[in-house]
């Protein structure tokens, strides 16, 4: 699995502070509809009847698909604008950088409250909220990947398209999109896996004493766990596994194999990704006819339409744009300034209601959550590094274990929360420690993957050299293995810590067996503030978490990442 975490090279600066203020405003804006009055309880019965499983699973997949489609549209527009408009780039990229690093789940309460107030009847509000949250879990890395792809387009290819007089649309269609495809596909796959995690969290949760439910596989699992229905729980997890494997085999594998044709290297490599399904599709007579008769003509029709529109726009551009543009620009500016002032005023007003007892909780909560994140990382490291290296340095083991790990890893940890809680709560004496286990479950795979990849990438020559010099044991780890896997390890840990913070929201405050269990932590603070309707604390907690994560990213990870890039990268 390729993990492309890209850091924005800019230093933390004024723009980031401005962005934080804006985020505070946005959170305020999102939750403001929910702040006044309470809507009626929306009671959706979640059945644990096994017959319902297929339709529940389908609903979940549809939710994911809807979110993914929005994410793709967002990616293409945002990434395109950021890559092509120098002025926009200066704002859009830092925003994306921060959005990428802040824990999305901390927005869950705010988003849900806001949307439910907007759509008080039926489950539409929750549906939209869950789709938005899944979207926010999927979009950023895809957008970054698309943006960077356009940025690193080989100069010759770009010049070729210019000298051949391709217009903007044709350049996008023939050059930029194809070139970005591979990155987009890998990141889509990662996003999709991440989406499950959020889906599970979004389908069923309690806020302010009300429980919000959506029919889906996530709510099925939680209900089954709450009822203590082991059979339903097992079947639910099996169904989830089947869905994940089916999607992997029938969607992602074929797409990856197909995307190989967009590889920029001009030599044919031997280890092309293969997909049985894609081969079948390509050889199938029916599919061929379908594509030739229907899809091709459909797409070329659409393509031509867009071509014409673009050509028309290009013709008309000169005439109309100037005057109209200026006036609308001024209006937009005035409106946005008014909105900003209004929101800023409200944010301050809301925060000023924060009581001292509330404020006092925050440092302690931050500390506890931070310690938990660190503990989770250390425990994950202790087992993943030796195991990952063992697998990665042995081709046979790697061939056997890699696909297995991939499947296990894509099972969302949130789906297993109910099960794990049942086992560990009593064993570890409360949620304080059990939540660490929950964090590890969701995030250890990122590290394992990367360690395996890093160990596999250690050149054979270096290993042979180590052997001939008789370097063994601890010395071998110090001279060969650790430096070899360091860059991958850092990448894995960056992703994993992000995951840990996200997990803190759902793991420090859980509904288990029908009642809420909590421990001290920033995640719990946020969840609890929502529960009690303490909006000032909710806003403050969410912002605090964003700041903590971004600061840690800048202070710790960016440095390690640069070190890894400069010092430990093995260039072949």
């Amino acid at each position: 699995m390729k993990n492309e975490k890209v850091f924005n090279k800019q230093k933390f600066g004024m723009i980031d502070v401005v962005i934080f203020i804006c985020i505070a405003m946005v959170i305020y804006l999102i939750m403001s509809p929910g702040m006044n009055g309470t809507s009626g309880n929306i009671d959706v019965k979640i059945s644990t009847d096994l017959d319902m499983l297929p339709s529940y699973a389908l609903r979940s997949v549809l939710r994911m698909t809807a979110a993914y489609i929005i994410a793709i549209i967002f990616t293409l527009t945002y990434g395109y604008i950021a890559a092509h408009n120098k002025k926009a780039e200066k704002i859009l990229i830092p925003i994306l950088d921060i959005l990428q690093s802040i824990p999305v789940l901390s927005f869950l309460p705010a988003v849900v409250l806001g949307l439910i107030a907007l759509f008080p009847n039926g489950t539409l509000g929750i549906e939209i909220a869950s789709i938005i949250l899944i979207f926010t879990g999927q979009a950023w890395n895809m957008t970054f990947s698309f943006y960077y792809s356009i940025k690193i387009l080989p100069r010759d290819l770009k010049e070729a398209s210019r000298i051949l007089q391709l217009n903007r649309w044709q350049q996008f269609k023939k050059l930029e999109l194809p070139f970005a495809t591979i990155g987009l596909v890998w990141n889509s796959m990662m996003s999709w896996a991440g989406g499950w995690f959020f889906l599970m969290a979004c389908e069923m949760f309690t806020l302010q004493g009300r429980s919000f439910r959506l029919k889906g596989i996530g709510s099925f699992l939680q209900t089954a766990a709450n009822e203590g229905n082991t059979k339903a729980l097992i079947y639910g997890i099996i169904t989830l596994l089947i869905v994940i494997i089916l999607l992997d085999q029938f969607i992602w594998r074929p797409v990856i194999a197909w995307s190989d044709k967009f590889k920029i290297e001009l030599t044919q490599s031997n280890d092309e990704p293969k997909s049985f399904v894609l081969k079948l599709l390509r050889r199938s007579y029916i599919v061929q006819i379908l594509t030739e008769k229907i899809f091709d003509s459909f797409f070329s029709f659409i393509g031509k339409r867009i071509d014409n529109i673009i050509i028309n726009i290009n013709k008309n551009k000169v005439v109309s744009s100037r005057k109209f543009g200026n006036i609308s620009k001024i209006i937009i500016r005035i409106v946005s300034i008014i909105v900003l002032i209004y929101l800023g005023f409200n944010v301050i007003k809301l925060l000023s209601t924060l009581s001292f007892t509330d404020l006092k909780q925050i440092p302690k909560a931050v500390l506890f959550s931070l310690l938990r994140v660190i503990a989770a990382q250390i425990i994950a490291l202790i087992w993943t590094v030796p195991v990952g290296v063992a697998i990665g340095m042995n081709k046979k083991l790697a061939n056997i274990f890699q696909p297995i790990i991939q499947v296990i890893a894509s099972v969302p940890a949130t789906a297993l929360f109910p099960v794990v809680l049942g086992v560990f709560m009593s064993a570890l004496g409360g949620l304080g420690f059990a939540s660490i286990i929950l964090m590890i479950m969701g995030t250890q795979w990122y590290i394992l993957f990367n360690v395996v990849a890093g160990a596999m990438a250690i050149p054979e020559d270096l290993r042979a050299a180590t052997k001939t010099f008789g370097i063994r044991g601890i010395k071998k780890w110090k001279t060969l293995i650790l430096p070899g896997i360091f860059p991958n390890l850092v990448t894995g840990m960056i992703t994993a810590t992000g995951g840990c913070w996200n997990a803190s929201i759902v793991s420090e405050y859980v509904n288990f067996g029908g009642h809420a269990v909590k421990t001290i932590g920033l995640g719990a603070l946020i969840s609890e503030a929502t529960e009690t309707g303490n909006f000032a604390l909710l806003l403050m907690g969410t912002i605090t978490m964003c700041i903590v994560v971004v600061v840690i990213n800048n202070v710790v990870w960016k440095r390690l990442y640069t070190l890894a890039e400069e010092r430990f990268k093995i260039e072949i």
Binding site: D156, I163, Q165, L166, K174, P178, L266, Q268, R567
Partner: protein, 432 residues
């Protein structure tokens, strides 16, 4: 061909180009006239800005000063009558041969039947029949560049530009393609009015072009224009051919050494500082190798011959020769390199003594004097590489100052004049 009857086609007028914030131009006051039916080769060392010049002529890049007149009109924006063949082929790997060739035609909005027909015609002209549905990665390098040519020619350009079109190909493939292209050109099978080829291969330029425009480096200026009146097909082995090549080598080596900016020299004299000079990108290993070769050859060798024997491009060879003469291990006279007694001694001595000789020589070079002086003036005898980069950039130009600094560090380290710590990026002198 009667020269007086030729019609002027392109006029490059006073082109100067600065990149970024750099104070030194990459291209300086370049004037070239190109007539109809003329095949021009622009010859210069790599990094001289040849490619930028080509991109200015085609309108891909805007000059800082000056203008390009194309067919009587000023070039403003990408020139629709020009097309380019790229060194890297620049084929779209996700499009088939046919689709790649059709790309430009489609962009121009031609109907589908016409684009298909025209593309097939070009594919067959360039000898790629049967490969229409192949993807570029299935083709060999030579065939890929054929697709590049077909794509460039399909749009029926008036001007064909080629940016080192053969340098990514092996010798035989390149030679084959060159001959075919010249055939197409001389038989007027292409609707092109002129060809501009960027190259750093002297022989390639002499083999193909009607006129060679030679550029200097840092900044690029036209140092000579040479008409080649040999009839096609040209024979690399013929005496005229070799003579022409030789004369170009002479101009090039001379140009390299004499090209000093007068203004800057004046400024330096005024300030009474010994001006740091640029250290050519020469590797110590290659220089010793060259010296040994010359020594074995009775101490004198034709530079052109040397390049051929070593299968080295002039670009790689010249900095090493410059380096050798800067160290006074050899002299360059009329395209020949002559070893000095010091040079002979350098290669005959043991490593330690050879290093001693090398050290004495580079201590005479202002650049190294500056480095040592700075380091000795510091208490801890340590200084950041960045400091020297900034200092030298004032004299040597911002352009690729990092690689220039790398060469200085390389030489200094070999001579054990100073040390370099890669992690801290500092230069230092051992204090023991």
């Amino acid at each position: 061909m009667d020269l007086r009857k030729q019609k002027e086609f392109i006029k490059v007028k006073g082109i100067t180009k600065y990149f970024g914030e750099s104070e030194k131009p990459t291209l300086k006051d370049i004037n070239i006239n190109i007539n109809e039916d003329e095949f021009i080769a622009i010859l210069g060392p790599s990094g001289s800005g040849k490619s930028s010049l080509l991109r200015i002529i085609t309108g891909l890049l805007e000059p800082t000063e000056g203008e390009v007149i194309f067919d009587g009109k000023k070039v403003d924006g990408v020139n629709p009558y020009a097309s380019i063949v790229f060194q890297s082929f620049a084929l779209y790997p996700w499009l088939t041969v046919q689709e790649n060739v059709e790309l430009g035609l489609k962009a121009k909005g031609f109907p589908k039947d016409y684009t298909t027909e025209k593309a097939s015609e070009l594919i067959s002209l360039i000898g790629l029949d049967g490969f229409e549905d192949a993807y570029p990665k299935e083709l060999s390098g030579g065939m890929r560049q054929r697709v590049g040519f077909a794509r460039a020619l399909a749009v029926q350009p008036k001007l064909l530009c080629m940016d080192e079109p053969f340098s990514a190909l092996d010798f035989l493939t390149a030679e084959n393609l060159r001959t075919e292209l010249i055939d197409l050109w001389t038989n007027k099978k292409m609707p092109i009015k002129s060809v501009i080829m960027i190259t750093h291969g002297i022989e390639e330029a002499v083999l193909m072009a009607d006129k060679i425009v030679m550029l200097s480096r840092d900044p690029a200026r036209v140092i000579a224009e040479i008409k080649i009146n040999l009839p096609h097909p040209r024979n690399r082995k013929s005496i005229e051919f070799e003579r022409t090549v030789d004369s170009i080598y002479k101009v090039l080596t001379k140009g390299e050494f004499d090209d000093q900016d007068e203004d800057e020299i004046k400024k330096v004299v005024k300030e009474k500082i010994e001006k740091p000079v640029e250290i050519p990108a020469a590797s110590i290993g290659v220089m010793s190798g060259l010296l040994e070769l010359v020594d074995d050859n009775d101490g004198r060798m034709d530079i052109y011959q040397l390049g051929r024997d070593l299968m080295m491009e002039i670009d790689d060879l010249l900095p090493n020769i410059e380096g050798i003469s800067m160290l006074k291990f050899a002299e360059v006279k009329e395209g020949d390199i002559i070893i000095t007694p010091l040079g002979s001694k350098f290669i005959e001595e043991e490593t330690e003594n050879a290093k001693e000789i090398f050290r004495e020589q580079i201590m005479n070079i202002s650049t190294f004097k500056v480095v040592v002086k700075v380091l000795n003036n510091k208490k801890n005898k340590t200084m950041k590489e960045e400091f020297f980069q900034e200092l030298f950039a004032q004299y040597l130009g911002e352009h690729s100052i990092e690689s220039k600094m790398d060469v200085i560090i390389d030489w200094g380290r070999y001579a054990e004049l100073f040390n370099y710590d890669h992690d801290t990026e500092e230069l230092y002198i051992d204090m023991e």
